[in-house]
Subunit: 423 residues, 2 copies
């Protein structure tokens, strides 16, 4: 019996630790291949996610050195490329599924690993149905990844803990800056963070405030409709009390009608609404109404790629999920996602679990209402208890020439055997 090869791909927005998952998965597959060469062969990575499978653009990870694979553990971004591409249902697009089977057959692929968020778990779930519906034996395992922390059935999502650590660190540091400047200059600092529908990242900023009056002073969640007058009153009171005010705002902040605040503000020279600038809209509102000088920052990709300040807990979980995904697949566990189960808050203990992909695909986990303080502008103790362990520990990458030393893989393609297929 020829050992089945594995297909692994990264999907959706990448993170500081998705490559740690790839590292765990490839190292575990290599280890098992040495022990049981009949059970698992090579790991082929899809170039740019599922697109790599459809277009037969496979990367032969066996051509990468053990050293380079080990370096994935501390390298941000997606080493094999990612994609935002959602498979349609088998009924709607049978040709794509037949193509997948054709590629799997041509390259002896019996294991399919998909590493991503909500949309990606939907794709993984659809692929997991191939065996039953189309009769090709492939075991499909999903591996969670999303800075949005909004996958159900898992305590948290790899990628989130590191963003949480980055944003909390950043707003703490900026808080020290603006506190120094407030007497004669900047009194307001606004930092805009990711999280279109769920306020997990905004909440994480709140961890930086460990005592009364410490930045950040106000958090603007997508879950709480923006009330300009109430907010301005909070800002004014904060400046009166502390001399300055620091604010973290979610890109998804909306008004009572559900309209994004980012769209209500500035328009470009062509009259288009400007996205990605809710931080500035909020800051400018303060300036216009209260007259305070402001600074604002837009962390954007910096927050989700900041491997230099990754959470060690996050890195360890990301790695462990890659390892266990291989084990699940070899045990024939089709249509599951590997998960993190919390055993205790303090000391933080966790173990690996699993959940059916059908329960995960397209389900968005919201932040519990009891995580937001009564006035709507900060986090509760319950939220702090949940978040705190996720940012614990440092996992500094190696540095070279004063900068983090990240790996670029060779990413050599597996020779094609099939006709071209257009996605």
């Amino acid at each position: 019996m020829i050992a089945k090869n594995a297909f692994y791909a990264q999907s959706g927005g990448v993170t500081a630790v998705i490559n740690a998952t790839a590292c765990g998965l490839i190292q575990e597959a290599r280890r098992l291949h040495l022990q049981h060469p009949d059970k698992i062969g090579k790991v082929y990575a899809g170039r740019d996610g599922i697109i790599g499978a459809l277009t037969e653009d496979l990367i032969d990870t066996s051509l990468e050195s053990d050293e380079d694979i080990a370096r994935l553990r501390h390298t941000p971004g997606g080493a094999f490329g990612s994609c935002r591409y959602k498979l349609k249902g088998i009924e709607q697009h049978r040709a794509q599924y037949e193509r997948l089977i054709e590629v799997f057959k041509a390259h002896d692929i019996g294991y399919f690993f998909y590493n991503g968020g909500n949309d990606s778990m939907d794709t993984a779930w659809k692929v997991s149905q191939i065996a039953e519906t189309l009769g090709y034996p492939v075991v499909c395992v999903g591996i969670p990844k999303t800075v949005d922390n909004d996958l159900p059935e898992t305590d948290c999502c790899p990628g989130f803990g590191s963003v949480a650590k980055y944003v909390a660190t950043s707003i703490r540091e900026a808080g020290f800056d603006v506190a120094s400047m407030a007497r004669t200059s900047t009194k307001i600092f606004v930092m805009e963070v990711m999280g279109r529908h769920a306020g997990w990242i905004t909440a994480a900023c709140g961890l930086a405030s460990e005592a009364q009056g410490e930045p950040p002073h106000l958090l603007l969640f997508p879950e709480v409709p923006f009330d300009p007058e109430g907010f301005l009153a909070q800002v004014q009171s904060c400046v009166a009390q502390y001399g300055y005010c620091t604010i973290a705002v979610s890109e998804g902040l909306s008004d009572r009608e559900g309209r994004l605040i980012a769209e209500s503000g500035t328009r470009d020279a062509f009259g288009h609404a400007q996205l990605g600038g809710v931080g500035q809209v909020v800051a400018q509102l303060i300036k216009d109404r209260l007259g305070y000088k402001y600074h604002w920052a837009l962390a954007d990709y910096l927050q989700r790629s900041a491997r230099h300040i990754a959470s060690r807990t996050d890195v360890e979980q990301a790695y462990a999920l890659g390892v266990v995904a291989v084990d699940l697949a070899l045990r024939g566990k089709n249509a599951v996602m590997a998960t993190i189960r919390r055993l205790s808050d303090e000391p933080y203990r966790w173990e690996i679990g699993e959940a059916p992909l059908s329960a995960v695909a397209n389900v968005e986990r919201k932040m519990p209402a009891e995580f937001i303080s009564a006035n709507g502008y900060h986090i509760t103790e319950a939220c702090r208890r949940y978040l705190q362990p996720l940012i614990e520990g440092e996992a500094s990458p190696p540095f070279r020439n004063g900068l983090p030393d990240y790996v670029r893989l060779k990413n050599i393609a597996v020779p094609r055997k099939l006709e071209t297929f257009t996605v």
Copy 2:
């Protein structure tokens, strides 16, 4: 003879390492005070810069523990508060100088240390003339600090090396992210950095690119008038070659007529030009003309407060300048600024020097033309040789609860002895 006390204040925009200077200065003053109690007494810090001196709002640093003073070395921001306040000339505002002397006399202050950039060195220079002009014996020493790296007479300015390390790290990390996403999503990433008149920080981003094709691909300097068509051609060629394009842009980017590009773009709901958004203007230009999806980041205060990724070289220089400032003052060296002198590039060796404040005050050091590549969009090898040592070494702060553990001093005021004075 009663030992003279010292006045120390922080001025202008603060940095990740200005407190390392304060740490060096206070530790050296404490050490000398123990050895020679007749030579130097206490260090009084001005609350909010020179304003603290004028308003007799002095902080008694002798009430802080040795442990807390030591923690200043790894704490960002300005521990005693800063200000943007420029003293007028003695002729124009004699009352302010007489007030300074009154405060100095009331608190036995014989040493005056001012820690800041161009404007602050002008203030320091004016104070240094008090002895001669108004007959009060005070020795005034300036200590350089500015992320803009634009003070003359010193190889570099404390604060700059850490910003340089932060921006180069950040754009490298974001580069890994956008490279992963480029196939089906974001192809353009723009990061806006500080530096209104000089492109030092923009240039530092270039350090992240160590080989052909590595991010950042294009740098937009304030020294190079923005040419939209030429720039768009560069972007298009970069995307064609590498699949994506990463750009660092200075907030001070201007057109041929010297108008800020930030002001040419968006207007807010009231029709005011929007500042602080040149990154978005440039990104939107690419989107409008070439159709590529973009992300952009505005590092703002995050870049100059990012003590968690400070350059060890920068921290060591900042600390050493604080130490030597005390020594200069005790040797009666009035009207000088302590400086960094470079002895060699590789291995990097430096020593402390000094320069007359008159040669420093209000003089802005531009980036040499030979530091910008011929096409205007990157840095030269000469620039790399100059910048590289400044980001070398890590100096990670201690962490507690997953976050950098910074100190907040007690900042207890020295009891007032004089009438109120309004600035």
